[in-house]
Symmetry: C2
Subunit: 510 residues, 2 copies
Amino acid sequence: MIVLRSPKGWTGPKEVDGQKVEGTWRSHQVPMGEMQSPEHLKILESWMKSYRPEELFDNSGALVKELQSLAPKGNRRMGANPHANGGLLRRDLRMPDFRTYAVSVEKPGVVVAEATRVAGELLRDVMRLNMESKNFRVFGPDETQSNRLGALFEVTDRTWLADTLPDDLQLSPNGRVMEILSEHCCEGWLEGYLLTGRHGLFNSYEAFIHIVDSMFNQHAKWLKTTTKEIPWRAPIASLNYLLSSHVWRQDHNGFSHQDPGFIDLASNKKADIIRIYLPPDANTLLSVTDHCLRSRNFINIIVAGKQPALQYLDMDDAIKHCTAGVGIWEWASNDKGGEPDVVMACAGDVPTLETLAAVHLLRRMVPELKIRVINVVDLMTLQPAEEHPHGLSAKDFDALFTKDKPIIFAYHGYPWLIHRLTYRRTNHNNLHVRGYKEEGTTTTPFDMVVRNDMDRFHLVMDVFSRVPKIGYHAAYAKQGMRDKLIEHKEYITTYGDDLPEIREWRWTDL
Amino acid sequence: MIVLRSPKGWTGPKEVDGQKVEGTWRSHQVPMGEMQSPEHLKILESWMKSYRPEELFDNSGALVKELQSLAPKGNRRMGANPHANGGLLRRDLRMPDFRTYAVSVEKPGVVVAEATRVAGELLRDVMRLNMESKNFRVFGPDETQSNRLGALFEVTDRTWLADTLPDDLQLSPNGRVMEILSEHCCEGWLEGYLLTGRHGLFNSYEAFIHIVDSMFNQHAKWLKTTTKEIPWRAPIASLNYLLSSHVWRQDHNGFSHQDPGFIDLASNKKADIIRIYLPPDANTLLSVTDHCLRSRNFINIIVAGKQPALQYLDMDDAIKHCTAGVGIWEWASNDKGGEPDVVMACAGDVPTLETLAAVHLLRRMVPELKIRVINVVDLMTLQPAEEHPHGLSAKDFDALFTKDKPIIFAYHGYPWLIHRLTYRRTNHNNLHVRGYKEEGTTTTPFDMVVRNDMDRFHLVMDVFSRVPKIGYHAAYAKQGMRDKLIEHKEYITTYGDDLPEIREWRWTDL
């Protein structure tokens, strides 16, 4: 590294209109304007001539031979240096078979697991397999353990170069987990690591990833420009975010920790480079994480909970579901062979739980109601195919979501994003989205969804309001749901925990 | 101020399961879990008892008199201290009459002015009038001059407490312009200033305000909670952002400086506290700025250009237009007394220019085409009245935008936001939005709009594609527009500047 210290504005005109420019703040403004004035033109000329161009160029305007020969050749040229084109140095990660970490799911909605803890085991072995090639690191603001990726510490430590105290654990100069309570540092480190040909993953609390919004924007712009406009740039590993400790499970932290809007920010960037995944359980998270770590030149955003939660898909189904990105969950639906009365869609782990619980209630209350349950893992499938490479074709979208049936969509983030992604779809006018609408506090997990009208009881009421066929059930049924919500409020006020029927809810055969 | 230095986790259990907690990193995790274990319960009990509650509380559980008398009274209580409830200390600003700064606009679309420079004169006099009460400051990351608010320096300096050099200007310890090239510092300073009862304005380059996204989020959450849920909190001055040097005029800086997405972030927060203004010229900016500085408990985002630009409204019209937030520009429209064939809507200074130039072209090419021109200053008027207090009623929206005519909407930011705000509106299916879609580089001002398909020629083609009535004109007319765009590309490649007919375009009577 060469460090050059020079006066601010060095090599510009030293003085303009009697005012010092070089070495002052003026050189950071427009150093000289009004170029139509003959005096300014003269300053420009004498400054340009101070380089003595007659010594640098020959009569045809070409650089003189002597100087030409000074320029470095081949890979020593600044733009050709492979360290400035990290994709050239990139070696693919050695990847374990992600299927071996699968949670066993014999029946959907019964087994409980912590999705990110399972993903942590996959990451541990990615780390182990690439320890020798030293090209994989995990970054995070002091939350690797809290986001339940602690398995990593079975094979490596946190990077730590300073003194250690007797009670310190898992710190070492060779550690490959980069932890610092500064999202800015993590993002900067990871970007530099990727740009020089290595691989990584940034895990963060969902709400606080907004801290790096501006850095994310610049990386997205860099990727857009280099992938679309600069063919000689070799592909680099994707920028992978694993956002956990998400909006719906901030039971201890409250409103300040609830913000699912990073997805919205990302959706404004060029579709070619943005991928957003909302795996509903551990096996889908495994499949998505494997896919993201193998991908190139993308920004992958994965949002997944860390709390104990129901598991829905076995590994085979998870792979199929994640590969398609969106699909009908046949085991939860009862419209096969006919047309549905209502489509219940969901994206995200907590919305999936509430949707399934609502479907379960509905199927017991109104067995003749035909319900189609759709889960969305890959959010970009919702966009038209012309807008995003993962977007469903109009035909496929209409086949899944129907052309005219009510759709009740429970979504992880701000509900408007779903409208934004689907406003061109045939059935958009029948789409009703529930999501986070900035109603939060320190409360129980179920109360969080209740406060945002995304709980099972609200979803049931939404169906009753929108499916004409069941009009005669509606009055009593809605009152029943309303009473449930009152019971919920009373219970949590008394016990500080959710109703047992909520906490212990499981999917059962119908 | 009292600074207390204590061991990390002080006052918690010192040790759990033989591991040190107090004074170690463990106290920042969950210090003790598994509370059902009798051993842990015992640790909890002995820790709690270490406070000797029998000395602190009487038999009824009340704090003993002796300790009760130690607590401060009245305003000395932490929560009652007026400095922690700054609204109580707030004194309204002394405001000059903003109308006196008006740019004279005798005919629309002819006079040229720099909007933020004019607003700078208003801010200068707000500063002057409140110099004695010391309760107004302007904050910005080294861009006050660049954003053309330099008039402020006629009455005050930049705050500067360190040494000065002979070439330094406008620095003093009493200066009331807070400049530092850290958006984080500016935001933090301003938030603290408002929370303690003062007033201010943050000016920033539009793209870089994303740096404080996360801080903005927390202030928005704080406002939502205090204004809706904590009645004893006295209203504080609004958090005012003036975003200039915006996406469309980054001629020198290029792609890295182009990002209009802060508006999208803000739109996710509670409607009660968010206000977004896109004044199209100087007089509307004056009216909006005056309004924002007088408001309470809001976050006001004003986006306005700093470059020389056409002026459209005289002060009387500007006040009427800003008060309504949205309206028909009658002088540009020709549908009065009948029904329009197309609605040309715009929000933001550059989109307004392109829309008017497109309308001018159309009215000459197809005089029988009935065009309604609508300008939107207050973006939140587009939302349904149920969603935002400024939202137009369904009836008013339908009256303005029609129930069935094509709407071509040129918008300052990412086009999807307009869809998000209007998807419930009757005529949404006929709404076609042009805006910034991440196509940018270092180029001419007009080429920026061309790259994003928001230029006058694209807008004309959009009308030809969507208004059936003028079908027979379409083929020739579209070809004419296409040729214009080719001419533009050739011209800027040769001259590095926009075509004279673009640079010098003015609105003329038709």
